[in-house]
Amino acid sequence: MPDGASALSLILAGDPSLYAIVRLSLFVSLSATVLAAFVGLPLGAALALVHFPGRTFIVVITNAFMGLPPVVVGLVVFLLLSRSGPLGFLGILFTPQAMIVAQALLVLPIIAALSRQTIEDLWVEYRDELTAMRVPPAGRVATLLWDARFSLVTTLLAGFGRAAAEVGTVMIVGGNIDGFTRTMTTAIALETSKGDLPLAIGLGFLLIALIVAVNAAAWGVRRIGELRAG
């Protein structure tokens, strides 16, 4: 990016490298959230509905892991994906794919823990009816997840917010490669270390604006859905 340009003028000028960074940030964080939801929503629902020995322990760990330090997750994933590591044959270190996987791991506990709570509360209401209708266990998970979908949107947004805001994970597994794995957060870190603070702050505001936009869109989807489905 050109030296000395403020973020605003870059946005107005439609700077292609800035847009590439924005696109990558959204792609990585949204994909990570969807991937984490794929695993985390059924997992959370299962934790809510099935009482197995050791369940309390798993619930406590899941809640605790909502606060996993991003840099630690990044380091662990880096060691796994490094060519010298067990999954090195995949060759995905320093690519967006690795960033998605690492952020998904970071976001997974948030989605699992929050959906568990939501489903647990909902089950209190639905238990008699679903039991009387002899709904099988897998069906209960699916039915509760679908009926809780509006509350779960908030859960997904919490996960997305965490992913979009973090820098430690994507810096380590992505490498902040110009044009390939540079996201908004790693770009902000870079511009700060280069001393270009106005640009860094400008990018920071842009990142916040993006997160707000995603939240607003989700709120809109939720409202429309609520109006249509009660």
Binding site: S31, F38, R83, S84, F94, I177, D178, L190, S193, G195
Partner: protein
């Protein structure tokens, strides 16, 4: 109610296809991963010379900028194809230990001692770095050290030694080790009005100077040699040895050396190519 399975199918497609597509593209495009240092990145050198290389060869260069220690570790792990750092002893050990094929000198830049505008230790304009450091210690003037085992940090420690000071034993509260990169060190020095040892390249493109300026420069002991090494394909089979060697050959070729020399900040050349210099 909508058919749920098809929504899942759409979601899976949204994730899997870009992932697969990107991996596929990565396999097809000609690219190499170069582990280098934050000083080369922050100075903007790569932004200047890499497009020239890519235009000529069609090879994309992906630069991971880390500290020297981390860059060499990345090379040892096989996560990069080429290592491009400025720590000669460490590079030679890298080759000797079998992780690298051969070390080629590429260029040098110099370090400068940056200091606050009011120059509390009164060393501005001195030509003898050892003398300047002795003065800083004597006056207990605030000094920021990177403290991160990087090439720059090692160079700083060597200079204290050259000044006859055992800094590890003799440091006082005036000497602050922050364990971070060059940019962070400069930011801290600007905020704390302290002296800091920096490479000219990062200083040249650094914007948050506060009242800082160059206090001491030009001493021969401040010169900083860069070398490039191909990661040993015998240790890591997947290393792109032909493409990596092409990059190395270009860097030391007259064309590459000219590109390096052509990089300027504020009209001032930052890196001095010396691939052909004996004993570099």
């Amino acid at each position: 109610m909508r058919d749920r399975p098809s929504i899942f199918a759409v979601l899976i497609a949204c994730i899997a296809l870009p992932m697969a597509g990107a991996t596929f593209t990565a396999a097809q495009e000609k690219s190499i991963v170069v582990a280098s240092t934050t000083s080369t990145q922050d100075s903007g050198l790569f932004g200047h010379i890499l497009p020239v290389f890519t235009a000529k060869t069609g090879i994309t260069v992906k630069v991971i900028a880390q500290g020297t220690g981390q860059a060499l570790d990345t090379g040892k792990r096989g996560d990069a194809d080429v290592v491009f750092v400025h720590a000669r002893a460490a590079e030679e050990k890298f080759v000797a230990d079998g992780f690298g094929v051969k070390r080629y000198p590429v260029m040098y830049n110099d370090f400068v001692l940056i200091g606050p505008g009011n120059d509390p230790a009164r060393i501005k304009g001195m030509k003898d770095i050892a003398e300047a450091l002795r003065k800083i210690k004597a006056d207990a003037a605030a000094f920021i050290s990177r403290g991160d085992k990087s090439g720059t940090h090692q160079a700083e420690l060597n200079l204290w030694k050259a000044a006859g000071i055992d800094i590890a034993a003799d440091k006082g509260p005036w000497y602050k080790e922050i364990g971070q990169g060059m940019g962070a060190a400069l930011n801290t020095a600007a905020a704390a009005n302290a002296y800091v040892f920096a490479d000219r390249g990062t200083w040249g493109s650094f914007k948050n100077r506060g009242g800082l300026d160059i206090s001491v420069e030009g001493d021969r002991r401040l010169f900083n040699q860069y070398g490039v090494v191909l990661v040993n394909p015998a240790k890591h089979r997947h290393v792109k040895k032909e493409l990596g060697q092409t990059f190395i050959d270009w860097l030391i070729s007259p064309e590459g050396q000219k590109a390096i020399a052509g990089y300027r900040i504020n009209g001032r050349q930052l890196f001095f190519p010396n691939a052909m210099a004996p004993g570099a």
